[in-house]
């Protein structure tokens, strides 16, 4: 169900990031994938999500350091700077739906988290 808006698929490939165990449950890490800064989140035991690490409000690369959780059932991360929430599944901001950060496909293969970027 991961959205991939307006991305030319031909340029993308799967980048292995780290073992799943290296991400503390219910937190995020920042990965370098295809030259991009990607925030990869682990929710619970084995759910993973990836969105851009760049926070459009503060213009700092910090979303991976935010607190994850849910608002009305939707999984989100709160920006550690000004606390706007971004949906983990789509990258869309909850407070201002006109703002989105890019989201990336992510999977776990043989215990390794991989991001398509």
């Amino acid at each position: 169900m991961t959205a991939r808006p307006n991305i030319d698929m031909s340029l993308k490939h799967w980048t292995p990031i780290c073992p799943l165990d290296d991400i503390v449950p219910d937190s995020g890490v920042c990965a370098l994938a295809g030259g991009r800064q990607v925030a990869v989140f682990r929710v619970g035991a084995a759910q993973v999500f990836a969105i851009a690490n760049h926070d459009p409000f503060s213009k700092a690369n910090v979303l991976s350091r935010g607190i994850t959780g849910d608002i009305k059932g939707e999984l989100v991360v709160a920006s550690p700077v000004y606390k706007q929430h971004f949906r983990l599944a789509t990258g869309q901001c909850v407070e201002d739906e006109s703002v989105s950060v890019e989201s990336f496909a992510v999977r776990i293969r043989n215990g390794i988290v991989e991001v398509e970027a």
Binding site: D22, S27, I67, D70, K72
Partner: protein, 845 residues
């Protein structure tokens, strides 16, 4: 229309209220106002005069809004009493020979204390209790005295007795009547009050008529009583009632009453229609009203009348009172003595708790006429509303004063009150006014207080204000719930208890048992704080780390560009040259921007996340500890240099500050905590602007709490005086744990106190009198936290699991190319967008 010239004589609370009422109706182009004031300062809260001895300054007591006289273009002549009125010429002449013409003149001259004309009443060492100047003189005299005696056991007399007690004197009260507060209380109530006050160490002598005052033996005075007994004392304070200040009116041939007081009509006009009188100098229908609320009513009526509005008339005032005398609640309302024909009493007494309550009801048992409450005045607000609004008594009137029966709701529902019901008589706020403010968006007690002023003076109506607030919110469909967020149907305080009582040690356990969903950035940090305040486990344990708020997560303060600042602890602001050099060397090595903080520490900015452990390794090796600048935790204990170096210091403030900082370092709380310790009353450490402020006295330490700087500065309130070191620490332990247990998320101590029912008096009872019986438990909880303290940074740099997270990329050692610095004034600063290298993404690829 030409401007009206208004002269006001007297700038007490009522005179000031008149000015506010007048200038809210007429602009400075319509009136030209001159105010003469005998005292050297503008209006202050005489009702709270005693708190001057409890540490409030003359400034704290002021009731004049900032820049009031300037903004309203009012001429204020302090220290300049009016000595004559020329009614024919319509001018007044002041002591400094100023002649000022008036169109309308307002006498707000107040009253003076009655001194019984007994032989020896004017000896040296005999004082009255009326103005700040009186108090200053008494304070100076108390330094050389051991025994102090108050003449008069009424309301003011007992206030004065409290003041003498606060000054450390052996205190006596001499009352002519057979009981205390003879006007407001019946015999049973008066006797109970006496017993309670004597238990606090004040000796009460009733039915004593002083015959003369002569030289004492070993003490300055001997008071000789009509019954032949005598009392030796060092100083005497008269507080035996007031007399209206009507001399000026008398001299000007304005009608005064037989026993004093300037006669007024329903518009507060005297016998000269261009001259008004308001407050305690005025006599209406043969009565003087010696309370501030009726004075305020008169001020408004007179101001309206001057402005041409005759819609409001003075028709007498309710003389009900509720007050706390030396911690004892006393209230008297309506026909308390049952003077109405056929009146019946309901009486409840609890001799063990020391409670007496009496209801006076009409002969047919349908109407409440009056009441007396001693020891517990909780029902005052409801009962008062019942008498004022003639609300019929319930079927069992005794339920109104009996301890609540199982399941029965007691007292009076606020919904029964009409909108016109006066809730706060000090500030003339009606129920309707409160409802309007709630409708306009005030949803907390604090907001209501600052918007309507309800409950901000004597505080007697605060419980009722709270009930109205809750009822109105319910009606608006705002569910009155204090749930922390959608994941927990509980307040922070409830979560704290659930964690503590249930022995829950992780967010997961708490969520599984008492919550739902995944949690969020509201509840997670709040629970992390509760867990830390309760169990004090290392906050970066994998179970706790994802809960931590932005700054706690990396044990540093995130700045706008995603870099961090570092603040090592410098207890009390004392630092050796060696350590200063280390900070300088580290800053230089890692190219950090350095700045001195307001909390007497040094902040190092511009550290990238992966540099934090390297920097801290060096700092820890040099003996530094985490300063917790990143946490909702104790920040610093600021101090002045104290008696060690300072010529004025009376205690070692630095030593105490270091002791306190080392005791409470790392303490997690609902919000950040700041403390200060000053070595003398000059207060160079600005301790009264802190959550916990300690100020040295010659006898020990004064403890202040709930101060704040920042957006809404608030002076701290005095919690206790002249404490020794051990008691000081004990009280701070109790205070902090009580706040940590009951505070809301992100609620500083100042707002916590503003929203706490009972306010500072309640905190005093809990902390100093241990009224809840939890003192020992609070101390033990604090001691446990002190004993389990560990430096988080020392833990972090020695824990490989923690260290893994201190890198920008999980799969690369590269730094974040978005972090760019430029030079400014010899140091780094974050580059602005236009200064950043636009090719950063390419460089990474």
């Amino acid at each position: 229309m030409s401007t009206q010239k208004i002269v006001v004589i007297g700038n007490g609370m009522v005179g000031q209220r008149f000015l506010e009422q007048l200038t809210s109706r007429l602009g400075s182009d319509q009136v030209e106002v001159t105010v003469f004031c005998e005292e050297p300062r503008a209006a202050y809260d005489r009702v709270q005069l005693t708190s001057f001895f409890a540490g409030k300054s003359a400034m704290d007591l002021s009731v004049v809004p900032e820049r009031f006289f300037e903004d309203k273009a009012i001429t204020l002549r302090l220290n300049d009493p009016v000595i004559s009125i020329d009614r024919a010429k319509k001018t007044v002449r002041s002591a400094r020979y100023r002649e000022v013409p008036y169109d309308k003149l307002v006498l707000a001259t107040g009253s003076y204390p009655f001194v019984p004309p007994i032989p020896g009443h004017d000896r040296r060492g005999c004082y009255v209790y009326r103005s700040i100047e009186d108090l200053e003189v008494i304070r100076a005299a108390a330094k050389k005295a051991r025994i102090g005696t108050v003449v008069g056991g009424g309301l003011l007399g007992l206030e004065a007795a409290k003041a003498l007690k606060d000054l450390g004197l052996e205190t006596h009260v001499v009352e002519f009547a057979p009981r205390l507060m003879a006007v407001q209380l019946d015999e049973t109530g008066g006797k109970l009050l006496q017993r309670k006050i004597e238990a606090l160490g004040v000796t009460v002598h009733t039915s004593k008529s002083t015959k003369e005052i002569v030289n004492g033996e070993g003490h300055a005075h001997r008071m000789v009583f009509a019954d032949g007994s005598a009392l030796d004392t060092d100083l005497i304070v008269y507080s035996a009632g007031i007399r209206p200040h009507d001399a000026l009116a008398r001299a000007s041939k304005i009608t005064v009453g037989e026993r004093g007081g300037i006669s007024i009509d329903e518009y507060c006009r005297t016998s000269d229609p261009d001259i008004y009188a308001v407050g305690e100098c005025a006599l209406w229908n043969g009565r003087i009203f010696g309370l501030v609320a009726p004075g305020y009513q008169m001020a408004e009526i007179a101001a309206r009348h001057v402005a041409g509005d005759g819609s409001l008339r003075f028709e007498g005032a309710d003389m009900s009172t509720k007050l706390k005398l030396m911690g004892v609640d006393v209230a008297s309302l309506g026909d308390a003595m049952g003077k109405t024909a056929g009146a019946l009493d309901y009486v409840y007494t609890d001799p063990v708790q020391g409670i007496y309550k009496k209801l006076v009801v009409s002969a047919d048992g349908k109407q409440l006429l009056g009441a007396i409450l001693v020891g517990d005045a909780t029902e005052y607000g409801g009962l008062l509303q019942m008498t004022l609004n003639a609300i019929p008594l319930p079927e069992h009137p005794e339920d109104l004063i009996l301890p609540a029966r199982e399941g029965a709701s007691k007292g009076l529902g606020v919904d029964m009150l009409p909108a016109a019901a006066l809730i706060c008589s000090c500030n003339n706020v009606t129920k309707g006014g409160i409802c309007d403010a709630v409708a306009a968006g005030c949803t907390t007690i604090g907001a209501l207080k600052s918007t309507t002023k309800a409950g901000s003076s004597c505080g007697g109506c605060a419980p009722m204000v709270k009930q109205i607030l809750e009822s109105e919110l319910r009606k608006q469909g705002v569910e009155v719930k204090n749930h922390i967020c959608e994941h927990f149907p509980h307040s922070r305080q409830e979560l704290f208890h659930l964690v503590r009582i249930g022995g829950l040690k992780t967010f997961g356990e708490l969520l599984a048992k008492h919550g739902q969903g995944h949690g969020c950035d509201i509840c997670k940090p709040a629970v992390a704080s509760i867990l830390a305040s309760t169990w004090n486990e290392y906050v970066l344990k994998p179970k706790h780390a994802p809960l931590q708020d932005t700054n706690d997560r990396f044990l540093a303060n995130m700045q706008k560009d995603g870099t961090y600042s570092i603040v090592p602890r410098v207890p009390g602001g004392e630092i050796t040259p060696e350590k200063l050099i280390v900070l300088g060397a580290v800053a230089k090595k890692y190219n950090l921007y350095t700045k001195i903080t307001g909390g007497q520490r040094i902040d190092l900015f511009g550290a990238r996340v992966e540099q934090l452990p390297l920097i801290w390794r060096e700092l820890v090796d040099a003996g530094f500890e985490s300063g917790h600048a990143y946490g909702k935790a104790l920040r610093t204990v600021k101090s002045c240099v104290g008696s060690t170096w300072c010529r004025y210091g009376v205690q070692d403030s630095v030593g105490m500050a270091i002791h306190l900082e080392n005791r409470y370092r790392g303490l997690r709380s609902p919000h950040k905590l700041k403390m200060g310790v000053s070595g003398c009353t000059r207060e160079c450490a600005e301790a009264q602007g802190k959550d916990v402020g300690v100020i040295a006295t010659e006898k020990g330490w004064n403890l202040y709490v709930c101060g704040n700087g920042g957006i809404k500065p608030r002076h701290a309130d005095l919690l206790a005086n002249d404490l020794d070191d051990a008691t000081l620490v004990k009280y701070i332990d109790r205070f902090l744990m009580f706040y940590i247990r009951t505070g809301d998320r992100l609620q500083r101590t100042s707002t916590w106190l503003d929203n706490l029912e009972g306010g500072i008096d309640y905190v005093k009872q809990v902390v100093c009198d241990d009224s809840l019986g939890i003192g020992a438990e609070l101390e033990a909880d604090m001691q446990k936290l002190v004993d389990t303290y560990e430096c988080e940074w020392k833990n972090a740099i020695n824990d490989p699991e923690s260290l893994k997270r201190f890198r920008h990329f999980v799969n690369s050692d590269k730094p974040d190319s978005n972090v760019v610095f430029v030079a400014e004034r010899g140091q780094i600063r974050p580059a602005r967008d236009d200064e950043k290298d636009s090719e950063k993404e390419e460089a990474l690829a």
